[in-house]
Amino acid sequence: MADETTLWISGHLAEKIRAHGAETYPHECCGALLGHDSEANGQDAVREVFGLLPLVNRRDDSPRNRFSVTAEDVLEADKSAQAQGLEVIGWYHSHPDHPARPSQYDRDHAWPWYSYVIVSVQNGAPQDMTSWRLNDDREEFSPEGIEIRHRAAV
């Protein structure tokens, strides 16, 4: 990926991701990012989150350091997005008591194009929130800027 990308999100939705991470601590939370990506416009491409779909972490064997969303959940997320005129543009999860940086395990289970938002939750309190996109060669993630869209919360 040549240029740094940006993910736009309202302060309200960003807070909801943080709150989800705090709610499920010390387990990982996860959910879908529903929004638009105007990639067809080339260099003016804008990606923005307009809704969240909190999901159940299916990894009940190791929920403190793993999360899993089944293919059935992915299909449901796609349907939910389409019903709202949106699409699934990425996923979020928390890293309890770890930095908001993608792990090797994250990389092994990712696809390019999706935005992967990670919120660090330290001792139950949400801290840094970052976004990442997997490079075409699968070798590493590139950081994606998060811009807060300032407007009245819906």
Partner: protein, 96 residues
């Protein structure tokens, strides 16, 4: 005899921005083989270097998960639709 392969949104950039493609194929493996031959940049996002489907990549034939059929040897017939759906996974550290 052809089957339709639905290309998931994140991978369309590697397939000429197409949302589907049709290939003559007698099995799921043949269809995926044609897909990744025609669009070679797709291959590493579906298969490991050893040529196995990545663990988080799920393949369906007409809504049936091929894991519960004959995996990549699952036979296909004219008009079948193959879908590729990721399961999403990750986690914060190295272990398990």
């Amino acid at each position: 005899m052809s089957v339709k392969v639905i290309i998931p949104t994140p991978l369309r950039v590697y397939a000429g921005k197409r949302d589907s493609a049709e290939f003559p194929a007698r099995t799921v493996g043949e269809a995926l083989g044609h897909l990744t031959t025609e669009y070679s940049d797709l291959r590493k996002h579906l298969f490991t270097e050893e040529g196995k489907l990545r663990s988080f990549v799920n393949v369906y034939v007409n809504d049936e998960d091929i894991r519960y059929l004959s995996k990549e040897n699952t036979p296909t017939k004219d008009g079948d639709t193959i879908s590729i759906i990721p399961s999403i996974a990750g986690g914060c550290c190295c272990c398990r």
